[in-house]
């Protein structure tokens, strides 16, 4: 999902510690990593692929469909704009704590260029058995096994637990879409829901939300028309208002962003919302009638 079987992938920031570790994992898993970027190390081979000074140099050398960024917060804006200018159509932005005005800037540029941004502050995307981009444990077969359940999550760690719960019941995952924990992100929960709704390989959808913002409520306006079963867990029922709960987006202001508002909206759209993630796999299984 999003990253296709034949997509050629670039890694911006490939030579850093995390860039190296996760590029190796992605390559082992089957993601077609074709090149990397580091302005200071152009010309070397790293993780078995050529390193270029910019995304534009990389696309001049060979076609690239998607890029994933292992870039520190204040470098993200320039790196994303570089990728957009290089004509890359899909950009996965993992970095947390990118200044929001930088995010708004590159999202405006991406929209104009018809380029899809996932994140920032996402753990990435997994298509089990095929490829992954980001830092998800795709290679852990207890967590990710190919199947028919699509999972959308604002959180990497919780998304991982949810996938494990689904796989535990004997089901598998068609796609994991980490949308990111920031207040302003490129691919929203509603966008991801629409993609999974239209994906022929997905038969049921799990929405992993959390308090803060109105992403779940907006997804719920689309969920009304989805005929595939939707099961959801929303984190933060026990979190007090006015406190930022780790994620920049996870804060309740007044009633806006509250657990109750999200739960009500999703339930009204026909989704089943669970109190704890423990039984989420079983709930999906029951809905699928397996």
């Amino acid at each position: 999902m999003i990253i296709g079987d034949d997509d050629q992938v670039l890694v911006q920031g490939i030579t850093g510690k995390q860039g190296t570790f996760w590029s190796e994992r992605m390559i082992e898993y089957g993601t077609r990593i074709r090149a990397g970027v580091n302005p200071k190390k152009a010309g070397i081979i790293h993780c078995g692929v050529p390193v270029y000074a910019s995304a534009t140099d990389a696309t001049d050398a060979a076609p690239i469909d998607a890029t994933v960024l292992f870039i520190p917060p204040l470098g993200v804006k320039a790196a994303v704009l570089d990728a957009i200018n290089a004509g890359i159509g899909k950009i996965v932005c993992l970095t947390e704590h990118v200044p929001v005005q930088d995010v708004m800037y590159f999202l405006a540029a991406a929209n104009e260029a018809n380029c899809q941004v996932i994140g920032p502050n996402t753990a990435g995307l997994v298509t089990p058995g095929k490829n992954f981009v980001g830092f998800m444990p795709a290679f852990n077969e207890r967590v990710f096994r190919p199947g028919t359940v699509g999972v959308i999550s604002r959180s990497g760690s919780l998304g991982t637990l949810i996938c494990l719960k689904v796989v535990e019941t004997g089901l598998g995952i068609s796609a994991f879409i980490g949308i990111g924990g920031d207040p302003i992100i490129g691919t929203t929960m509603r966008d991801a829901l629409e993609m999974l709704d239209q994906d022929p390989g997905t038969q049921a959808i799990v929405i992993v939300g959390e308090i803060g913002g109105s992403m779940e409520e907006e997804a719920a306006t689309y969920a009304h028309q989805v005929t595939k079963p939707i099961v959801s867990f929303i984190a933060g029922a026990a979190s007090p208002p006015g406190k930022r709960m780790g994620h920049a987006g996870a804060i309740v202001m007044g009633t806006r962003g509250s657990y109750a508002s999200k739960r009500t909206a999703l339930e009204a759209a026909g989704a089943e919302v669970l109190d704890t993630p423990g039984n989420i796999g079983q709930a999906v299984k029951d809905k699928l009638g397996e």
């Binding site: 917060p73 704590h97 990118v98 999202l107 760690s157 959390e210 979190s239």
Partner: protein
């Protein structure tokens, strides 16, 4: 990060927006001195919260003696949980109209949004309820800034004709304050049109985007630090997000989503969480410091360690915990549940070095911890 009015207003003035003459003071005598220099003035409590007027934290005074009395009354007052320690003594302004103006980060349009209303002086939530059609909105492409013509068209029907030009300039200046300072929100309420047709900012609310702090060092030093407990301050110094609650089940997890979920599950099974503490992201190597922090919480009767590795490796986090364990020797029962990246090594470590059996199901670990805490 929030900024109090007396720190936020100089940002407006710096961008060319008129603000009344003012002085910030910390004693009643200083307030009296300031009023002697300024003349008829407002005495305004400086606290990082709204509704100061309703709480009695803003008073108009005509001379130095009444300024002293008002200041003595307001200093030490509690407003929204904050004790008033600073006052702003500000010249009174002859108001003809009170307007509202703000620029905020907008989730829906994924860009800055200018908000403007001809009904100022009340909370924007109340404006939105009472006069929804008068709350004007202008989405902005941050790459280009505000288009002056669009702005003029937007506000012209709402304000006196002779004020349009000066208001447009003020709003463009406000946008400059927003972009120059990595604002999440900058609001002027009320924005006054004076009887002599000037446009003056009578208040200012400014919130700095926390992710912008690292490139706004000078500015962020002037912000109001979040009110933290002693343990929360220790956590912050270590780079850990730690929030203290009144419950007795300690929480140590990785990732914001999983940590919130752990708290939710504790409450679901009849317990109360003692804290929020996550060591996810770049902080995942801080297991040792994290354990020390959570064990220092005076209330905790049981500790739940819930790791689910994606980016964060559970073996690295668990190793940190075990190392800290040897020196801290926890007196409360500890319950582990570990999944994801590095789980095989992590679970083996807990078994061998702590002689504990991690729970395969998170719910079982939560139930056991809640029971042990009771």
């Amino acid at each position: 990060m929030l900024f109090e009015e007396y720190v936020a207003k100089p940002l407006l003035a710096g961008a060319g927006i008129s603000v009344p003459t003012s002085r910030s003071v910390r004693t009643a005598d200083e307030a009296a001195d300031a009023a002697r220099d300024i003349g008829p003035c407002m005495i305004k409590a400086q606290v990082p919260t709204g509704k100061r007027g309703k709480a009695g934290g803003i008073r108009a005074v005509e001379d130095s003696d009444s300024a002293r009395v008002a200041a003595a009354d307001i200093l030490g007052m509690k407003i929204g949980g904050h004790c008033v320690e600073t006052l702003l003594v500000e010249a009174q302004v002859p108001i003809a109209h009170e307007l509202y103006a703000a620029i905020v980060n907008d989730q829906k349009t994924q860009g800055p949004l200018l908000l403007f209303s001809q009904h100022g002086g009340m909370d924007i939530e109340d404006v939105a309820l009472a006069h929804p059609n008068d709350l004007l909105q202008l989405p902005i492409d941050i790459r280009n800034g505000i288009d002056r013509n669009a702005l003029e068209l937007l506000i012209t029907p709402a304000v006196p004709a002779d004020a349009v030009d000066l208001l447009c300039t003020t709003l463009l200046n406000l946008y400059e304050v927003y972009t120059d300072n990595d604002a999440e929100l900058v609001e002027i309420n009320p924005l006054a049109i004076t009887r002599d047709s000037n446009v003056v900012a009578l208040d200012c609310k400014f919130t700095l985007d926390d992710s912008g702090i690292k490139r706004q060092r000078e500015l962020s030093a002037k912000g109001t630090p979040e009110k933290l407990t002693e343990l929360e301050t220790q956590g912050e110094a270590l780079g850990l997000r730690f929030i203290e609650f009144s419950g007795n089940v300690g929480v140590l997890a990785n990732g914001a989503g999983l940590t919130m979920t752990t708290m939710d599950a504790i409450r679901h099974y009849g317990g109360e969480p003692a804290n929020f503490l996550e060591i996810g992201g770049e902080a995942y190597t801080l297991g040792q410091a994290a354990l020390e922090l959570v064990l220092s919480h005076p209330n905790i009767k049981a500790l739940l360690v819930n790791f689910c590795g994606a980016f964060a490796r559970t073996d690295v986090m668990t190793e940190g915990i075990i190392e800290a364990w040897q020196t801290l020797k926890p007196k409360v029962p500890v319950f582990f549940t570990i999944h994801g990246t590095g789980e095989t090594e992590a679970i083996a470590m807990v078994r061998e070095r702590l002689q504990l059996e991690p729970y395969d199901l998170m719910d079982d670990a939560v139930k056991a911890a809640v029971e042990a805490a009771q």
